[in-house]
Amino acid sequence: MKPAQRQGVGPEQRRYARVLEWGARAGLAILVVEFALYLGGMLPVRMAPAALPEVWSLPLGEYLARTGAPTGWGWIELMGYGDFASLSGIAILASCSVPCLLAVAPLYLRNGDRVYAILCLLLVAVLVLAASGLLGRTH
């Protein structure tokens, strides 16, 4: 990396990049492996793939009613099933910004940059709120 690039990139960005890289790699790897296990028939399924065309064109509410698929964090209990196992990879991808933000907040605080430390924590709060499943059920 050239000196000019280093000049423009603070330690916060470098730390954020490092943590993000690991999180994204882990999420993608788990996503692909779990899906391969599912397609390879190495995991039991709740709904046979051949039956999916009957439900994947239904609106979400009808799909949930017909299949009994879980909402919220209910999929965690079904992780042993191939059709839900890949959701763990998706959850990791959707969560991997949280450790990045938590990793850089102390650096901002150390530099006396309280506003950005607070921004990081507020973003974590938004992501946790979104992930909590507490927000209104639409179906």
Partner: protein, 327 residues
């Protein structure tokens, strides 16, 4: 995300006829996958289940190839095309669309941050508002009837086509003096422009308006499952005065936060089907790797025009499907 065309047009371009054949093949695959076409030849139920995810993978791979040289994110192509020409319900397509945009943004994020093309100080305030509003957008989108969302999606896609066709871009815009918020948050930086071989200082202006617009962009991203680079880049570049490359890099990074929030809403509501999401994510990411390599040989302006034509078709399809004219 951003247009990269000028530097690459000097290289030997692949003939537009060959490119047209590639895009025609893409459309053909999508047309074959069209449930209406399928129904006319073979009842949909008679088609083996694995044909659809396989076709989805192939189409997404092709979308990934053309998205990079066309300077758009995969999400904006994915949702209208897949919802228009595949049998999956729009609810699941939007969930997958968010994941496509999220995975692409996460994959690109670390490098963009390291080379200074994504800037944390610029991104975090905008991402906070856009992330919060994307949750609202996702909840609204999942609560509205599918026909309403379909019509709104069609109108939005056609507006995006108009925006992409008409919007100017400025490599290094003349940003006015920094506003109070930009000064207080010290939103400025230096990046090394390899094409020019020099270090460029930048700052932003009109931050309050940028914050308002990013709030609206977040709602649209959550509601339609679109990546929002098509809107982020013009706001960062033309309104706030960030250099084009910093705008494109920061836009991509912002998507990694905004789409995470909205993706959680779709996941919690049960609107993520692995059989739709995973082939899409893997296909578009593999295609994007090829697309990035083809950057040096493809004529970007031709690809861009073809992608605009494809979006026009997909936007019209979404609108007419929502209106019940073309089911």
């Amino acid at each position: 995300m951003s247009g990269h065309s000028p530097p690459f047009e000097r290289r030997r371009p692949i003939g537009s006829r060959r490119l047209a054949a590639a895009v025609a093949a893409l459309v053909l695959v999508a047309a074959v996958a069209d449930p209406a076409c399928a129904a006319s030849a073979t009842p949909q139920a008679a088609i083996a289940w694995w044909v659809w995810p396989l076709a989805l993978f192939v189409v997404c791979f092709a979308l990934g190839v053309v998205a990079v040289p066309a300077g758009v994110g995969g999400g904006v192509l994915f949702v209208p095309i897949v919802s228009g020409f595949f049998p999956f319900h729009l609810d699941f397509v939007r969930g997958a669309g968010l994941l496509v945009a999220l995975a692409s943004a996460l994959a690109a994020g670390p490098n963009l941050l390291r080379v200074g093309l994504a800037d944390l100080r610029l991104a975090l305030p905008l991402a906070l508002l856009a992330s919060a509003s994307s949750i609202v957008g996702a909840l609204i989108g999942l609560a509205l009837p599918a026909t309403v969302v379909q019509i709104a999606l069609g109108v939005t896609i056609l507006a995006i086509v108009a925006l992409m066709a008409s919007a100017k871009k400025s490599e290094l815009p003349e940003a006015g003096p920094p506003d109070r918020i930009a000064e207080a948050l010290r939103i400025h930086g230096v990046f090394h422009d390899a094409a020019r071989g020099e270090d460029l200082r930048w700052h932003v202006t009109r931050t309050p308006l940028g914050l308002v617009l990013f709030t609206g962009i977040g709602v649209l991203a959550g509601m339609f499952g679109l990546g929002a680079g098509w809107a982020n880049v013009p706001v960062l570049n033309l309104l706030m005065g960030a250099p084009l490359k910093v705008s494109a890099g920061t836009s991509s990074f912002i998507l990694s936060l905004v789409d995470s929030s909205a993706a959680w809403v779709y996941l919690n509501q049960g609107a993520v089907l692995a059989i739709v999401a995973v082939p899409s994510v893997v296909g578009i990411m593999l295609g994007a790797r090829i697309g990035a390599r083809l950057l040096t040989v493809l004529k970007a302006s031709v690809v861009r025009r073809m992608v605009l034509a494809l979006l026009l078709l997909a936007g019209a399809r979404a609108l007419l499907k929502g209106l019940g004219v073309w089911n």
